[in-house]
């Protein structure tokens, strides 16, 4: 197995730039894009709608589809292939837990959850939490 790069992505443009950087800097690596759904929000709408589904795996992939589609488009632009994976709940927690299977994390310094006060309070600064707790090196894109 080659060098494995984990790129956590959300809706933000910063996340897209992180993926571009990862593809350009590690052209021969296995790049995996991770997106987290059911992230806490003011009324927990996304999380609750996932919890009420019968098939969590399928529902999560549906919720993640827009982000993963964009990720594949970026990869296609760079003529590279990527793997994709989906997590649920708190982004930083999921990213850190998955990190053991990879050699490096490449991510944006701030994403969509920094947009408003409620989300920043509930979700926190994902990049900062990942830097603090990640067992593997983290590259931050600004």
């Amino acid at each position: 197995m080659g060098f494995r790069v984990l790129v956590p992505m959300d809706d933000s443009e910063m996340a897209e730039r992180a993926l571009e950087y990862a593809l350009e800097t590690h052209p021969d690596a296995d790049v995996t894009v991770l997106t987290v759904v059911g992230v806490p929000s003011m009324l927990m709408g996304d999380a609750v709608s996932l919890a009420l589904e019968d098939d969590l795996d399928e529902a999560s992939r549906e919720h993640a589809a827009p982000v993963l589609k964009r990720a594949r488009a970026v990869a296609a632009d760079h003529e590279q292939e990527i793997d994709t994976t989906v997590g649920v709940g708190h982004p930083a927690r999921v990213i850190v837990r998955d990190a053991d299977d990879y050699d490096v994390i490449v991510m944006g310094s701030h994403g969509e959850h920094s947009a408003d006060v409620t989300r920043r309070f509930l979700v926190g600064n994902v990049a900062r939490d990942v830097f603090r707790r990640s067992p593997i090196p983290v590259t931050s894109i600004r």
Partner: protein, 391 residues
């Protein structure tokens, strides 16, 4: 002079009511409008009517508490206007930063701040209100969790909420009187579910009126500057205006998030929250619709997410040995029967719905509701201490 102060006060009331109209119309009608069952203007119209009914009947009990029971003296007109400004400030902060601040909490906080500054707080009433503020979200969470765990899956199988294209009803005008008939694509089930959604929306609007009308006017009613009846009318007009204007936006933001969840779940949440709000309002306890709603939603999701494990294990945050084995078995099965789409990485573990509601996140979530009223009490206290002339 008194007239000028009263006019400023009424303008502040209108501002508060206008914003309350915006946010509560979003919660009460967001799901129905999101599902395309009625137009935004129809929703605002129904909102205004039922807010008035709620404010006129049950709301009087809350009005009495706010205007007479929280502090031992009456709120002077000037102090009432200042209190209204703090309520408005709370709403403004909520709107600008997108932080949910329950208006009932801000109102009680601001009046209590006035009481602290003048040494007239009725601690017995405050303790009574606070205890219900603590108990209510727990009740909402418990009801939500119970339904989510034991009733929702079965209910979801039996009740299908449908919405077909085309008009719901057509009117046959060939005879003397127009006779209603089902629309081209309408089934009886759809007609019934649409009626249920409408009734529940009206019920929620009623409870919003009962709990929120007093917030906009009680500080002016206390001194007798405004009689309760015209005060209720002023609040209704302001809330209605908010419903017809800014609610278009909140129906998409707050209501939009509510319509992420299935309509059946939204209805369960709305019925639970409205009942809690109406019952507490009739007891004279100021409570915001959003407090009951939010914890019922979280409870519903949590209850459903933790259904494979017992409540005891879920609370302790650990699944039994057998559960882990079960999980592994299901994972194998899924991998065997349903090949993952191309480009999908193999996960080392299956997705666990419990990750959506870990205890840490829920505690953080609850703390969000404690910050608002604490801030409003502190601000009002500081103001009335620094400017003693007004109180």
């Amino acid at each position: 002079m008194v007239e000028t102060v009263l006019i400023v006060g009424v303008i502040a009331s209108l501002f508060v009511g206008f914003n309350i109209g915006g946010s509560s119309t979003g919660i009460a009608w967001g799901p129905a409008v999101g599902a395309g069952l009625l137009k935004k203007t129809t929703a605002a119209g129904l909102m205004t009517v039922f807010v008035f009914l709620g404010g006129w009947t049950v709301g009087r009990n809350v009005m009495d508490t706010l205007s007479g029971d929280i502090i031992t003296i009456e709120i002077s007109l000037a102090a009432g206007v200042a209190v209204l400004f703090f309520i408005g400030l709370g709403i403004l902060i909520a709107n600008v930063f997108g932080v949910p601040v329950p208006t009932s909490m801000t109102t009680v906080g601001a009046i209590a701040g006035l009481g602290l500054a003048t040494g007239t707080v009725n601690y017995e009433t405050i303790a009574w209100i606070l205890s219900w503020w603590i108990v209510t979200p727990i009740i909402g969470f418990w009801i939500g969790a119970f339904i989510g765990r034991y009733i929702y899956p079965e209910l979801n199988r039996r009740v299908g909420i449908e919405n077909s294209p085309g008009p719901l009803l057509t009117f046959d005008r060939s005879g003397g009187l127009p006779t209603p008939a089902l629309g081209p694509n309408t089934t009886y089930r759809e007609l019934v579910s649409t009626i249920v959604v409408l009734i529940v929306g009206c019920y929620m609007a009623f409870s919003a009126g009962a709990s929120n009308v007093p917030n906009a006017v009680a500080p002016l009613v206390s001194s007798g500057a405004l009689e309760p009846n015209p005060a209720i009318l002023i609040a209704t007009v302001a809330i209605g205006l908010g419903g017809f204007t800014i609610a278009r936006r909140t129906m998409e933001s707050v209501g939009g998030e509510l319509s992420d969840i299935p309509l059946l779940a939204a209805l369960i949440v709305m019925i639970t929250a409205s009942t809690i709000t109406t019952v507490l309002s009739s007891m004279g306890i100021p409570i915001s619709l959003v407090m009951g709603s939010v914890m019922t939603i979280v409870g519903l999701g949590w209850g459903r997410a933790t259904r494979p494990v017992t409540v005891k294990e879920a609370v302790a945050g650990e699944a039994g040995e057998s559960e882990i084995a079960m999980g592994a078995l299901t994972a194998e099965e899924t991998a065997g029967t349903q090949p993952r789409p191309i480009g999908e990485a193999e996960r080392s573990e299956v997705l666990d719905a419990r990750d959506l509601f870990n205890p840490g996140a829920i505690i953080k979530y609850i703390s969000m509701w404690i910050i608002g009223p604490t801030m409003s009490t502190a601000l009002a206290y500081g103001f009335f201490v620094l400017v003693p002339g007004i109180a």
